[in-house]
Symmetry: C2
Subunit: 153 residues, 2 copies
């Protein structure tokens, strides 16, 4: 935890930004909720619990800054809200998501899985890939079980 903060601090400094208390509070919330896919508003409310004086605009500006430095990834599942996802340490590729269309839960896939596909696309379409977004929409394990339970009623 502390050493990840330290590393982020260095990343900011190397681009001549400061790790202000507000920025640190925001980063801490992101670290503590690494599995969730928080919206800016979510982050704001969580930061506010510990630092009540913070403003929503500051959170937005911090998230934008972190996105720019590729410390977080800004994602959009099509529900009209941007969500922010901390990049995994040393992850070469952006991870994938499984969005459940029943309960709305979002799971992550760390495995790359796209290596073959990317090779095909790069050679077949002459496209130099820099990043990707892959999201599957479907039914999560829990909802599948509940659906089956419903059927047996």
């Amino acid at each position: 935890m502390e050493n990840r903060i330290e590393r982020i601090k260095k990343q900011l400094h190397s681009s001549s930004y400061k790790l202000t208390p507000q920025r640190e509070a925001t980063v801490r919330v992101l670290l503590e909720h690494e599995e969730d896919h928080l919206s800016a508003e979510d982050v704001y409310l969580l930061v506010k619990e510990k630092s009540p004086e913070i403003g929503l605009a500051t959170v937005y500006r911090t998230l934008e800054l972190l996105t720019e430095l590729k410390i977080v990834d800004k994602i959009n599942f099509g529900d009209g809200v941007s969500r922010y996802d901390l990049r995994k340490e040393g992850a070469a590729h952006f991870h994938h998501h499984l969005v459940c269309i029943d309960c709305g839960s979002v799971a992550e896939i760390e495995e790359d899985l796209l290596e073959d596909v990317e090779a095909i696309v790069e050679s077949g379409w002459n496209f130099k890939i820099k990043d990707h977004r892959l999201t599957f929409h479907g039914i999560c394990e829990k909802c599948q079980q509940e659906d089956r339970a419903d059927e047996n009623e």
Copy 2:
């Protein structure tokens, strides 16, 4: 063209919707710009050229209706605007996109490419896939050539 309109008309009817002049004008714009990834506003302006009385709300409502009936797909490249993409005749899967981070152009990939990946995800994560979104961000062929030309200056 005409028979695709006819087919869409039938799809609407089978869900007890009418193909009104406004809806037809909107669909025609989508058919005429199948390669572009138009925003609602884009569609509105194009429809307005031929049917100036149409309102923006009607275009939104039509696009929503077409999305519901899976005649178009609503996509989001993260620039804060929804774009609408006509489904290819009989396409089982939603196609993929190549977004150029230099010039902003968007190309489409019709090939599935994800069959293997989906099989892995379904069995490995117990997730029943219903749909997917795959977008690659990178440099298109044209911009790669221009970059190379720049280097040789």
